[in-house]
Symmetry: C2
């Protein structure tokens, strides 16, 4: 499958590596190619610069948001939440139309330090804002509730855990589910929460996720929903 990934951070990179392993054709998109490539040295998480990463992942094509969105038959929003709507506008409404958009972004505002706050919550969500802004796109919220390494390696945890899908289009959710199963997720571990408004719940998990990260001193954890005997 030809997949366009918007965003060149750790989430975009991790998803891209996995998709290349799985044999997909990948183009990653950014706002401004030159300035993204110009960054050198380690990032805040001690990871190599994007340009270094790109040299080590030579099968990944690199373009603008618009080029990546045009390239992909299936799209992934891996931009940071505060910039997602703008990035998607730059990608272009027509390039998003009639395509599945797996939205991994979270509306986290780190500008006032830790812990981050949400830029939208309670009666709305970023996923809904994206779906409203691009009504022809098939937005599926998913994978936003765990760290990137676990998104593509659920088996790194000591037990099976859960992820959540939110979206209005059942076929789009099925497509996402099919892809996630190739990442190692079991059918039963993927919970279809319902329409896009249910993304309010999954996005509002982030505040406890961030605090658990601090308490557990590792991002390598996930939620499991345990039911009655």
């Amino acid at each position: 499958m030809k997949i366009g990934i918007l965003g060149t951070g750790v989430v975009g990179q991790t998803i891209a590596e996995k998709l290349v392993q799985l044999g997909h054709s990948i183009m990653m998109g950014t706002r401004d190619k030159k300035s993204t490539l110009a960054k050198t040295g380690k990032d805040n998480f001690g990871r190599p610069s994007f340009s270094e990463w790109l040299r080590n992942n030579s099968k990944v094509q690199f373009g603008t948001y618009s080029e990546a969105a045009s390239f992909g038959e299936f799209l992934v929003n891996a931009t940071s939440g505060m910039g997602s709507i703008e990035a998607l506008k730059m990608a272009g409404e027509n390039n998003l139309a009639n395509k599945v958009l797996l939205d991994i972004s979270n509306p986290l505002d780190f500008s006032k330090g830790m812990p981050p706050t949400l830029t939208v919550c309670n009666t709305d969500s970023l996923a809904e804002q994206i779906q409203r802004t691009f009504p022809k796109s098939k937005v599926v919220k998913g994978l936003n509730t765990l760290t990137a390494m676990l998104m593509v390696n659920p088996g790194l945890l000591s037990e099976s855990t859960n992820i959540f899908l939110n979206g209005n289009d059942s076929n789009a959710k099925s497509e996402v589910k099919k892809l996630l199963k190739t990442f190692g997720w079991n059918e039963n571990d993927i919970i279809d929460m319902g329409d896009i408004t249910t993304a309010r719940g999954t996005e509002q998990i982030l505040p406890i996720w961030v605090r658990l990260w601090g308490t557990l001193q590792t991002p390598m954890f996930n939620f499991k929903i345990v039911v009655g005997k």
Copy 2:
């Protein structure tokens, strides 16, 4: 221990039954004794009226918010979140002072139908509002992330799960932890998240909890935090 429970709904009743079983002396408090006793018939969940429940739980004493708060050396806020601050004001600042207040309430507004919205979130929480309003009280948020039956019977689930404590006073959290262990919770299942501001995270779990209730068609579930191998 003498324990005062504010609120006569399903949470208050379930906690009271367990505490009586464990040998504690319980007084439940309400806004207006007469009107609470005057309600007859089943409630919205098909449960018997409070007056019928009280006849079947004759060891439980019954008083006003103020009487119950004065009675208890340890207090439980089991009122509905939208009325909690007012209920606690009626309980009386002096009756709350220097006591642990286990706050189980959630700031859920059901007035516009399902799903409920939060009356406070993101940059504040109900637990923080309570702690600010009653600075001499030792507020510990806890047990607000699962259904009442499971609060006092964690073994009804197929695996051990997690609950979260949020509060500024370490000794108060230790007291709550000790009580929760008598409910059947294991030491390791109770996660101390940190100070009272971490209650933002646990209260904001409710939107996904409510949606999972709909998706799973049962409230008999809980979150388990699974970590790396």
